[in-house]
Amino acid sequence: MADAGTGTFTLDALCTLAGLPKRTVRYYIQIGLVDRPEGETRGARYHHRHLEQLLAIRRWTQAGLSLERIRELSTGAGEAPPRQRDRTGSIEIWSHFVVADGVEVKLNPAVAGMSSDQSRQFFAAVMAAYQQITSEDPPA
């Protein structure tokens, strides 16, 4: 099915080889799971690399992986070591800012990397937003 001269496929040929509908293949390209083709619209050409990407996605979706997880796997993002946190015995300082009864903002400025001035501005903005919303339409 590949073009003998260039080793490339049309979209139709690619879909047939991958066993996926055209709409789905285009969707994977649009969301960045599969590389864009060479050329556009009718002149678009696809390579073996595209076919391999599609076959891998098909295999992973059949195994029950979400597209988001497949994206992580294909870009290697899934391999990043998780951030160590919540060690037993560790002490974390959190600011609890009470906006109103039942409304609270929790902030760890060290982790968030916010200066005290930024924290103050942030709380002021939250307070103003709350007052504006509740004055327009008071809670029951």
Binding site: K22, R23, T24, R36, P139, A140
Partner: protein
């Protein structure tokens, strides 16, 4: 596997959605509901895009047509085989032309793709639907869903293609407007909405309802039309050279049938998505369920999330002791069981206490991607499933199909005010004796007819279609055999003698016929009657020429749904955060006596009832905005009763005596039945009766501490509270919780009646 599919690229979805607004206009005439929905798209960017939106429709609505306005041009779609539709759509995009494709995405869902919307171009899509409404014991419930919430599981299991999956974005808020026109007898109905504030106008004998205020695509629009008498009637229409007939039977109550004892397996969804309003509504519904159990009934109670937990291994007789115990289980019900493994939970519940014949009462939001397989397995199990859908936007499609195919029924409750009525109707259905041999016969031999259902209930509509080659029928007869006595019942539906214009009836009939046909037959019907089905889609192409043609593949813009109001505890849909004042009754005048239905179904007790005068046809009535703001949506249900109790408890200054002794029996007489029941649960758990009564009075006195009682009463009640014994550890907090719930309960939240077993015990 991770449960909920969130936006794959959240940042892209947060701002600047291409969907600008949605406008809907519906017409209700008899039991036919026609709805036109207009979606307005705008490409604000500088390059061509493809907008994709999976949107909800009423669960059994039939899509009749799609019209697209693109610039100056108006285009009509045609229905073709799905593969053909995809070929045309993809071909158009590759050519640089624009195209629109509408595909079915599942029960009650369609996906529309608007391909190659050029830079700063606007497109308006108009969808036309028809839906058959049903009487359900005195009311007709009209639902216009507007949002699909996050659901548990893999959408691919329902046959959804990757591009059709639904994403949710908490920051989206699409404007939505709706007008509903009630014609004919429907214009005389008492209309309420538990979901939205409405304004009403009476124009030339019709009732026109509009959503008041700024509505958003964040909850189902629910409109209840009450006070109508269910009728059996046959409607005729043309179908090519022949005729199509719709017989709508509404069997009258058969009279003195004894209530059937129930074997009921209660199964409650305790998954994370039930957090907030939903689990609260579920608990209220379950307390109502307990209140309807009779001593002859038996029941089990199970919760599910990622796992299922059965609180008993067999069915328990509904003795006062067992019901009290179950009330405790319900009070402890939390939305803390993780995912929504509905299929496994149902299978496990079906297997419970076999081989006894039992029904399953499922209370859930239905937010799960499940489909045919689950329903087929439930059907095989042979136990009826009665489903109560909870929330501002429950997945009604799945619940209706599940209930319908197993011979049960489905009720959805959008607000606390609907719970009592829904549970009462459900019990009526469950207590009716099962029927067999349901048949529909016509006075003229039909060419084809739809399969008769398995369930015939008094006061509930059964729709049945048939086709006739030459002569239209004059009468249809629904027959069924009651069990166990074998009595034969019949009810007739005669024609009004008028043949409806247009092809709507024939196409709605074709959609109904598809359910009982072979796959090939379904496909042929879909193509013949231009219906979008799992094997067909609607497509239209607008050819672009020359420089207009975009050179590149369009960028994808998926329309993310808002989160349904109150979803997962994100705000509350019953309070003021998202809510506009719902619950007002609107009525375009009424001739004759008030509706013959139980008082608890009427909304007369709802405050702020608004009536539209129909003395003059020209007179119109809109609720002014300031009035809508001031009309309280609901009133406190028990606060007056509690105030009276506090007043009665306050010792007289001169004699020092109270009108009510502080004992559980004495104060119970002044309390709503379920509050008294909750206090008795504590006694059942081992607390001394006097301690419970004392803690209740102390807590109540504190609660009314800021109330505007006369100083004398307040001082007296405080002195009384101080003189009582301090509550044992843990009791005070639990009693305070009961007091708070009763203190803050709103009208319509209240259980309809004293529990049946309690009545019996008192007798």
């Amino acid at each position: 596997m991770s449960a909920i599919y969130l936006p794959e690229q959240p940042a892209a979805a947060v701002t600047g959605s291409v969907l600008q607004s949605v406008r809907a206009e519906g017409r209700v005439h008899g039991l036919l509901f026609e709805l036109d929905i207009e979606q307005c798209y705008l490409n604000p960017g500088d390059s061509n895009i493809e907008a994709v939106y999976t949107f909800p429709v009423p669960w059994n609505a039939v899509l009749l047509g799609v019209e697209v306005v693109l610039g100056e041009r108006v285009l009509q779609g045609t229905v073709v085989a799905r593969a053909d539709g995809e070929r045309r759509y993809e071909g158009a995009l590759e050519d640089g032309s624009s195209a629109v494709m509408v595909e079915r995405a599942g029960d009650g869902m369609y996906t529309v793709s608007v391909g190659n919307l050029l830079a700063r171009e606007r497109a308006v899509l108009r969808f036309r639907y028809a839906q058959l409404l049903s009487f359900a014991q005195g009311q007709v419930r009209i639902v216009v869903p507007t949002v699909i919430g996050p659901r548990y599981g893999d959408p691919a299991r329902t046959g959804m293609q990757p591009h059709q999956t639904v994403t949710n974005d908490p920051l989206q808020a699409y404007p939505f407007s709706l007008d509903l026109v009630f014609r004919g007898e429907m214009a005389g109905a008492a209309v309420t909405s538990p979901s939205h504030a409405l304004s009403a106008r009476a124009i030339d004998g019709t009732l026109v309802l509009s959503l008041a205020g700024d509505a958003r695509l964040d909850r189902d629009v629910v409109v209840l039309a009450e006070g109508l008498e269910g009728k059996s009637l046959t409607t005729l229409g043309r179908d090519g050279d022949g005729y199509v007939a719709l017989a709508s039977f509404c069997p009258p109550p058969s009279g003195q049938e004894p209530d059937r004892p129930l074997n009921l397996k209660i199964l409650v969804d305790c998954s994370g998505s039930m957090n907030g309003d939903r689990i609260d509504a579920a608990r209220r519904a379950l307390h109502d369920v307990l209140a309807h159990l009779e001593p002859e009934d038996s029941f089990s109670f199970s919760c599910f999330g990622s796992d299922v937990r059965h609180f008993s291994s067999s069915l328990l007789a509904a003795t006062p002791r067992a019901v009290t115990k179950a009330a405790g289980w319900i009070a402890e019900t939390r939305s803390d069981m993780g995912g929504t493994e509905l299929a496994a939970a149902l299978a496990s519940t079906f297997a419970l206490a076999q081989p006894f014949e039992a029904d399953v009462l499922l209370v859930t939001d239905g937010d799960v991607w499940e489909a045919e397989e689950l329903v087929a397995r439930a059907e095989q199990a042979g136990q009826r499933v009665f489903a109560v859908g909870i929330g501002s936007a429950p997945a009604a499609g799945l619940l209706h199909v599940l209930a319908g195919r197993t011979g049960g029924a489905c009720e959805c409750v959008a607000a606390h005010a609907e719970i009592a009525g829904a549970i009462m109707r459900m019990f009526r259905r469950m207590r009716q004796a099962p029927v067999r041999d349901v048949t529909v016969t016509w006075d003229t031999g039909p060419q084809w007819q739809t399969r008769a259902g398995r369930l015939v209930l008094a006061g509930e509509t059964v729709h049945h279609f048939a086709g006739f080659r030459e002569r239209p029928p004059a009468r249809a007869t629904l027959g069924w055999v009651g069990q166990p006595d074998g009595t034969v019942h019949r009810t007739d539906a005669v024609t009004a003698g008028v043949t409806a214009d247009g092809t709507t009836l024939a196409r709605v009939a074709a959609a109904a016929r598809m359910a009982g046909d072979t796959p090939a037959g379904r496909h042929a019907l879909a193509l013949q009657y231009a219906l979008v089905s799992p094997t067909t889609s609607l497509v239209l192409v607008h050819e672009r020429t020359g420089a207009e043609k975009p050179a590149a593949m369009p960028a994808l813009h998926r329309v993310a749904h808002a989160l349904p109001a109150g979803w997962g505890g994100a705000g509350t849909a019953t309070g003021g955060i998202f809510g506009s004042p719902p619950g007002a009754t609107l009525r375009a005048g009424r001739q004759g006596p008030p509706p013959a239905m139980p008082a608890v179904w009427r909304r007369e007790q709802t405050p702020g009832m608004l009536r539209v005068s129909q003395n003059s046809a020209a007179e119109t009535y809109d609720i002014p905005a300031f009035l809508r703001k001031q009309v309280p949506a609901v009133e406190y249900a028990y606060r007056d009763a509690l105030r009276h109790l506090v007043e009665a408890l306050a010792p007289d200054n001169t004699t020092g005596a109270t009108a009510v002794p502080v004992s559980l029996d004495a104060i119970s007489a002044h309390l709503p039945a379920h509050v008294a029941l909750e206090l008795r649960v504590l006694v059942g758990e081992g607390y001394a009766e006097q301690d419970v009564a004392d803690a209740f009075v102390v807590s109540l006195a504190r609660q009314f501490g800021h109330d505007s009682f006369a100083r004398r009463v307040l001082d007296a009640i405080r002195r009384l509270a101080d003189s009582l014994r301090p509550a044992p550890a843990g009791l005070g907090e639990r009693v305070r919780h009961i007091v708070l719930e009763a203190f803050n309960a709103r009208t319509g939240d209240a259980p309809a009646d004293i529990p049946a077993w309690l009545r019996r015990a008192a007798d």
